[in-house]
Each structure stands twice: as structure tokens, then as C-alpha cells.
């Protein structure tokens, strides 16, 4: 039986090296590490589950088929987030989406469509009360984030969900560092204004 390599302590660069050498488990490890971050970013940008799946899949196919051109001096996460964000922005430019419903995509009309496109949070290890509170907060903040312009939204998601540094966000979004800070400041100000009635 072939041995399954253990990538638990391997850096992204090491895994990419293995993938470039033709190791299928290394490809799967890269997908395992980034499927949720990439899908979450795209999902929050386009606000449609089916579409987000398609765009996330396109992102991975593009990245994994172009591993030979990856330059190890750059962070792999920056590279994949950049491609994911570009995929989402390209889509938003082509199709102007209107409003978000946490119960489903704007175009969902039937119960099946609403269920298939509804937001589905990943598992969290929290008590029922914490989960309820988090769901309430999450629902409000999701709606508020969805009303931000795409550039602000990407900055907020990368900073507060993916915990990326300002420098990495600037690299991902191809923006000057000062612009990223300004976007975050304005995005936070808009979020505060939108959440005003619910703030204690």
C-alpha cells in the first residue's frame, strides 16, 4: 500500500514543491488548506453559493495547473487569494448584483434554490448560546458587509476573516499600502453606521 505523505508540518512552499514534482496528495493538501478561505472570500464577494463554487473551482484549477509558474519568493496564500479575488471582481464587473439575502441568492425563487444558495457556516466548537449569539451577530455583519463596495468588502474579509497583514492585502489587491488602510478605515466606518441600531 503506498504511503500517504504527512504534510501537517510542511509549509505551503514545501507542499507546492511536492506538487510540482507530481505528487497528487500534495495537490489535495493545497486544496484542503485553501478550499474554505478561497470559497469564503468568493462567496462573500458574489453572494451566490453555486456561483461561488464555480468560481472557487476555476480558481483552484487555474492555480494548480499553473504551479510551474509559481515563484516561491511570494506567499502562496497571496497568489491564490489574488486569483480568487480577481475571479470574483471580474464576475461582479460583468454582472451587477443587487442585495444579499442570508436566506439565499437574490435570484433564488424556489425553496430548493434558496436552500442551495443559502449561507452555511462551517462547524464551530461553541456552546448553543454562543452559537446563537454568533449567528445573530454573524447575520447582521454579513448583511452589512454585503452592502459595502467590493474593494472595501475584500479588504474587510481578508483582514478580519483571513487575518492577513496590511502588506499582504495590498499585494493581493494590487493596491498601495496607504490605500488599503484608507479602505479599511472607511469600510469600518460604514459598517459602524450600518450596525448603529444594533450596537449596545
Amino acid at each position: 500500500m503506498p504511503l500517504i505523505p504527512d504534510f501537517s508540518s510542511a509549509s505551503d512552499q514545501d507542499v507546492v514543491e511536492q506538487a510540482r514534482a507530481g505528487s497528487e496528495p500534495a495537490y489535495r493538501e493545497l486544496i484542503r488548506r485553501y478550499e474554505r478561505p478561497v470559497f469564503s472570500l468568493i462567496y462573500r464577494m458574489v453572494r451566490d453559493r453555486e456561483l461561488a463554487e464555480d468560481l472557487a473551482q476555476e480558481t483552484f484549477v487555474k492555480v494548480l495547473n499553473a504551479l510551474a509558474s509559481y515563484r516561491p519568493e511570494f506567499k502562496f496564500s497571496s497568489w491564490i487569494f489574488k486569483i480568487a479575488n480577481n475571479a470574483a471582481i471580474d464576475h461582479l464587473r460583468r454582472r451587477q448584483l443587487e442585495t444579499l439575502s442570508v436566506d439565499g441568492a437574490p435570484h433564488a425563487t424556489t425553496a430548493d434554490q434558496m436552500e442551495s444558495s443559502s449561507l452555511e457556516l462551517a462547524d464551530r466548537a461553541e456552546s448553543p448560546l454562543q452559537e446563537l449569539e454568533a449567528r445573530e451577530l454573524g447575520s447582521l455583519i454579513e448583511q452589512a458587509i454585503s452592502r459595502l463596495r467590493p474593494e472595501y468588502r475584500a479588504c474587510i474579509i481578508l483582514r478580519h476573516v483571513e487575518d492577513r497583514s496590511y502588506e499582504e492585502i495590498a499585494e493581493i489587491l494590487d493596491l498601495p499600502l496607504g490605500t488599503v488602510k484608507t479602505y479599511l478605515h472607511r469600510a469600518r466606518a460604514e459598517l459602524k453606521a450600518m450596525l448603529g441600531p444594533w450596537r449596545e
Binding site: E24, G178, H185
Partner: protein
């Protein structure tokens, strides 16, 4: 979009309530089987090992260019020498004649005597004719130049030809 590059950046502020909201944001998961769906569209191919310089040269079909360049250089220099010799034929002839008369001719005569004694070959006869003045040295130079010119032309054509480039992979 507003360009903020010329204005001082606004530092993101601290707001514990907003941060509590933002901290409640989780990650979403794609449907099960996402990795399989991706892998079905990914080509898992090992990167080729770094080739040896010689192999790479041969694969890129650059070796005719190299051979052409080397032979072209040799041909060009011999052509240049021919042209220079033609331009300074009198001086060169006088110098050669003096040198040959003083040193070379006696030696050549001895060599030719030896060659004539050893064999009546064509080369010796030609050399004898050249030295005896029956075949002009200019004819020898012209023969060399007429051989060198087409070789140079082929080499220059090889160098000037647009190299064949590998088509870059375009991700689907």
C-alpha cells in the same frame, strides 16, 4: 474609483463592538467532494528535471545556429583576410617573396625534392605549380573565398531567423 495614493492613509480605528461583530464571521465550506471536482480538471504532471546544457541546446534546435555561427565566423575571417590580401597584394607578395627567397624557398625546394622523390602525387604537383608561378596565388584565394561565402550566408540566415518559441500554457 477614487485614487488615494496622494492622500495620507487613514489608519483603521479601534472599535471593540465592531471587532466583536467581525470576530463572529466564520468561514464557509464548499459542498462535499470539492477537491475531487477540482482534481478531475487538474493535470498532475511532474515538472521536468533540469536538462543538461547540451540536451537543452539540442532540444531547442539551436545547434545548427551554433555550428553555423562558428563556421560563419571562420568563413568571415578568411573572407576578410582574402579581401585584405587582395587590397595589399603587392606589399604582401613582396614580403612573401623576400621571406620565401631568404628562408622558405630553400626549405620548400628541399621538401618538394623529397616529395617528388617519394611520390608523383597531385598535391605535390599543384604545390610545385603554385611555387613555380604556373598557378597564380590569387586563384587559390578566390577558390577559398567562393567556398567561404555560401557557408557564411547560411550561417547568417540561421542567426537572423526568428527562433521557434514554446507556446505558453494558458490556464483554462
Amino acid at each position: 474609483m477614487t485614487d488615494h495614493r496622494n492622500t495620507p492613509p487613514l489608519e483603521p480605528d479601534l472599535d471593540p463592538v465592531l471587532d466583536r461583530y467581525l470576530a463572529s464571521l466564520g468561514r464557509y465550506a464548499p459542498r462535499p467532494g470539492f477537491a475531487d471536482r477540482v482534481m478531475a480538471r487538474v493535470r498532475v504532471t511532474p515538472a521536468p528535471a533540469a536538462p543538461l546544457p547540451g540536451a537543452r541546446l539540442a532540444r531547442r534546435r539551436r545547434w545548427p545556429v551554433l555550428v553555423g555561427a562558428l563556421s560563419g565566423t571562420a568563413a568571415a575571417s578568411s573572407t576578410a583576410l582574402t579581401v585584405w590580401a587582395a587590397g595589399h597584394f603587392e606589399t604582401l607578395s613582396a614580403w612573401l617573396a623576400a621571406t620565401l627567397t631568404a628562408v622558405g624557398l630553400p626549405a620548400w625546394h628541399r621538401l618538394l625534392d623529397w616529395l617528388a622523390a617519394q611520390s608523383a602525387g597531385v598535391g605535390a604537383a599543384v604545390l610545385s605549380d603554385v611555387l613555380a608561378g604556373r598557378i597564380p596565388a590569387m586563384a587559390i584565394w578566390l577558390l577559398a573565398a567562393s567556398l567561404a561565402t555560401p557557408v557564411s550566408a547560411v550561417a547568417l540566415w540561421q542567426i537572423a531567423r526568428t527562433p521557434v518559441r514554446m507556446r505558453k500554457y494558458a490556464a483554462r
